[in-house]
Amino acid sequence: MERKLIVTSSPHIRSNEATDKTMRDVVIALIPATLAGMYYFGFQTLIVVLLSVAAAMATEAIIQNMRKQPITVMDYSAALTGLLLALNMPPEIPYWMPVVGSIFAIAIVKQAFGGLGHNFINPALAARVFLIASWPVEMTTWKFPVDAVTEATPLALIKGSGVLPESVSIFNLFIGKVGGCIGEVSALALIIGGIYLVYRGVISPRIPLVYMGTVAVFTLIYSGFNFNFMMFHLLAGGLVLGAIFMATDYVSSPMTAKGQIIYAVGCGLITVMIRLFGGYPEGVSFSILFMNVVTPLIDKYVKSNVFGGVKK
C-alpha cells in the first residue's frame, strides 16, 4: 500500500462550492426577469435570449478549441454573459445584434484577456456599450408593452421635460409595465432574483444596496425631496438590473467590504451624474464599466486591516 498514499499539504478537504454552481445560481436568479420580459414584450424576446446565449457559448467553445484549452462552456459563465447581454437589449432588436454582441463579449472582452477570471470589465456590459456606440438607433428603439407603440422609455421622457411623465405610475414601474430593455423592466422580478442570490450566498447585498442607496440619496436631494422623483430613478431604466446583476460581477468588482462600498458609491454617483446632467438618458452601464476600470486601483489601496493590525 505504501506507494499509493497521496501526500499533499493541508487542508485535505474542500468545500463543495464550485464556480459552475455559482454561475448557475446567477442564471437561475435571472429567470424571473427573463420571464417578465417575455410576458411584457412577447415571444420574440425568447429568440433574442436564445440567440445571445447560444452565440456566447459557441464563441467560447470555438476559441477554447482553437487554443487547445479545456472546453468549459458548460460552466455557465458564457451562458450567463449571453443572458445578461440579451436582457440588456431592447425587445425589438434585429436578431443579428445579440449574436454580434455575444461574440464581441466572449471573444474580445473575455477570451482575449485570458478567459474566465481575467476580464477586467464585465463582458456583457462592455458588449452592450459597444453595440450602443455602433448601432445607436437599433439599441434605443423601444417598444412600449401595453399598447405596443414605439415610444421613448420613462427615463428618456423625464430627460426631455424634467417633469415626471403622467403615463407612468410608480407601481407600473415596479412591476414592469413600461418600456425598456428586456430584462430591466420589472424591478420586482429582479429583486426576487437578487434575494435568491443573497440567500444562496452568491452575492452580499452590499453593492446593490449601497449603489441604489446612493442614487436614492442624490436624486432625493436634487429634486428637493420629491419622493416620486427618487422612486422613478430607482425603478426606471437598468438600475436594479445593473445594481444586482452587473455591478456585483465578481471578476470586475472589488473584493474587500470597504472596497465594495467605495465602488458602489462610485457607481451610484456616476449614474446620477449621467442621468441628470449627461447626454444619455441612462447611465448605469457606463458607470459600472467606469468603476470596473477603477476596481484594480480600489483593490490596491483599500485593504482590510489584518487581525491584530492597526486598531480602529
Partner: protein, 440 residues
C-alpha cells in the same frame, strides 16, 4: 444564546459522528516503541540511555536539548535496542527503540508530587518541565516555556482550548467527557503558576455534553469559567480563541503573551494533572483513529512511540486501499506517505481517506469571488498573496501580510475554483523567512 466567536471562519462538515460516542479504549501493549527525541518545537533531546540498557515506564530517556525543548520518557518497560535515525512525522530524527518486556514496571521516579494547594508555583513549573509536557493540540510547544513569560509580559488571560474545531477529531471531546476533573485540576495548577484567579475553558457548542461535564467538574472553582464558543473553524486557533474570550487582538507578528494571554489545550491540562497527582510524565495520549478508510473508527489511548500501522490495526485496519493517511485533522494535519512512523505527544488523530476522498480537485482560474477574503480569520487577502507567490513576487506577498496567515487552510477549503491558496501562501512565507534570515 450569545456565543463567543471571532470574525471570519468556515463551517466544514464535522464528520465526528463516527467516534464521538465511543469511550476511549486502551490500546494493546506495543511490543516495540520507537520514541523520537524530538516531539516538540525547539531543540531535539539528547539520549541519556544506552543500547542494551533496561528502562522502565516513565523513565526519562531524553534530556531537553535547550531552553525551548522538553524531555521524553519511556512509555514501556524493557530494553533499549537501538538509538538511530528513523523516519518521523515530516522527516527523520533520532529515535530510541525500546523492546517491551510486557511487564510495565513503573520507574522509581514516578511518585505523586503533592497537591496543587501546597505546591509552590515554581515547584509546579518544575514538575511540568520534568514531565516533558508540551502543547498537545498543535505544534507541541513546550508548556514550561509558555508558562514562563518574560517578566515584562503581564499575563492576565488564561484560556484552555477545548474547542476541538478540526473535523473528525474527538479525542479532546472524549477526554472532557470522561475525565473532566483532570482538566480542571491541571488548570488550577497552571493558574497557580501564572498567579491568576480567573481562567476560561472554551468548548464549541457542538459538544454540549462536554460543556456540562466540565462545568460540573469546575463548579467548586468560581474562578474557572466554562464558556461555550460557536462551532466554527478555526475556533481553536490561539488568536481566535483569545479574541472570542477577551475581545483582545494579538498584535500582528506577535505572540499571545504580547496580548497578555496564554492558551493551552485540554489534553495538556490533563497531562499536567497526571504529572502532579501520580508523577507519571507525558507518555500516552488519546488519539482518534477515524475516516472512511478505517474499518472500525475509535478513540484510543496510545503509548508514545507506538507505530501508526499498529494503531490502525487496532481500529480494524484499512478499509480497502487507503488513499491518504493524515496525522492530525483534515484542515491542518500532515499527510504521510507511510504508516511506518511512530506516534508522538501531538498525535491527536490518525485519519485515513479512501482513494476517492484523497484526490484533490483540479483547480481553475480565480474568479475574484472574494470568498477567501471574507472568511480569512487573519483578515488578509489570500487570493492576492497566492497570486504574488505563484509569480515569485514574494516582496509583494509580504506587503500583503503573508506572515499573518495562521495556515488554517480555510481559504483553500472555501475557494470555489479550488485554488491551492494555503499551499502557495506557505511557499511565500518560507521565502520571506529565509530572506529575513539572510538580511539579519
Amino acid at each position: 444564546m450569545n456565543l463567543l466567536s471571532f470574525r471570519g471562519g468556515i463551517h466544514p462538515p464535522h464528520s465526528k459522528s463516527m467516534t464521538e460516542h465511543l469511550p476511549v479504549e486502551k490500546a494493546l501493549e506495543p511490543e516495540t516503541v520507537v520514541i523520537p527525541l524530538q516531539q516538540h518545537i525547539g531543540a531535539p533531546c539528547q539520549a541519556i540511555v544506552e543500547v542494551g540498557e533496561k528502562v522502565k515506564v516513565g523513565q526519562k530517556i531524553g534530556e531537553a536539548g535547550g531552553f525551548v525543548s522538553a524531555p521524553v520518557h519511556s512509555s514501556v518497560s524493557g530494553t533499549v535496542k537501538k538509538i538511530e535515525k528513523r523516519m518521523i512525522i515530516n522527516g527523520t530524527g533520532t529515535c530510541v527503540v525500546i523492546e517491551s518486556d510486557g511487564l510495565n514496571e513503573i520507574h522509581e521516579s514516578v511518585v505523586p508530587k503533592g497537591d496543587v494547594e501546597t505546591l509552590e508555583p515554581k515547584e509546579i513549573l518544575d514538575i511540568i518541565n520534568e514531565a516533558g509536557i508540551v502543547g498537545m493540540g498543535g505544534a507541541g510547544f513546550p508548556t514550561r516555556v509558555k508558562l514562563s513569560p518574560p517578566p515584562d509580559k503581564k499575563i492576565d488571560v488564561l484560556i484552555v482550548n477545548g474547542a476541538e474545531c478540526e473535523p473528525y477529531l474527538t479525542a479532546d471531546h472524549r477526554l472532557m467527557l470522561e475525565t473532566p476533573e483532570d482538566v480542571v485540576y491541571g488548570l488550577r495548577a497552571v493558574m497557580k503558576v501564572l498567579g491568576l484567579e480567573k481562567a476560561y475553558i472554551a468548548i464549541e457548542n457542538n459538544k454540549m455534553d462536554a460543556v456540562l461535564s466540565v462545568k460540573e467538574a469546575a463548579k467548586e472553582y468560581p474562578g474557572i469559567q466554562v464558556v461555550t464558543v460557536k462551532t466554527k473553524y478555526p475556533q481553536g486557533g490561539e488568536k481566535q480563541l483569545i479574541y472570542a474570550c477577551s475581545q483582545r487582538e494579538v498584535p500582528s507578528g506577535a505572540l499571545p503573551m504580547d496580548a497578555g494571554a496564554v492558551v493551552s489545550n485540554v489534553a495538556t491540562m490533563s497531562a499536567i494533572s497526571k504529572a502532579i497527582r501520580t508523577g507519571m510524565p507525558l507518555i500516552e495520549r488519546i488519539c482518534t483513529v477515524t475516516g472512511d478508510g478505517i474499518v472500525e473508527p475509535k478513540n484510543i489511548m496510545i503509548k508514545n512511540g507506538t507505530r501508526i500501522s499498529e494503531i490502525v490495526a487496532q481500529a480494524g485496519g484499512y478499509k480497502g486501499d487507503p488513499g491518504k493517511l493524515i496525522l492530525g485533522g483534515p484542515m491542518m494535519g500532515f499527510a504521510q506517505f507511510t504508516d511506518n512512523l511512530p506516534s508522538t505527544k501531538t498525535t491527536s488523530g490518525v485519519l485515513v481517506f479512501t482513494e476517492e476522498q484523497a484526490r484533490l480537485p483540479e483547480y481553475n482560474p480565480c474568479i475574484r469571488c472574494g470568498k477567501c477574503v471574507d472568511i480569512c480569520p487573519s483578515f488578509v487577502q489570500p487570493f492576492a498573496i497566492s497570486a504574488y507567490s505563484l509569480n515569485g513576487m514574494f516582496d509583494m506577498a509580504e506587503k500583503y501580510n503573508a506572515m499573518d496567515c495562521i495556515e488554517c487552510g480555510s481559504c483553500s477549503f472555501i475557494c470555489p475554483s479550488k485554488r491551492p491558496l494555503l499551499h502557495s501562501i506557505r511557499m511565500a512565507k518560507r521565502e520571506i523567512i529565509s530572506k529575513r534570515r539572510k538580511t539579519k
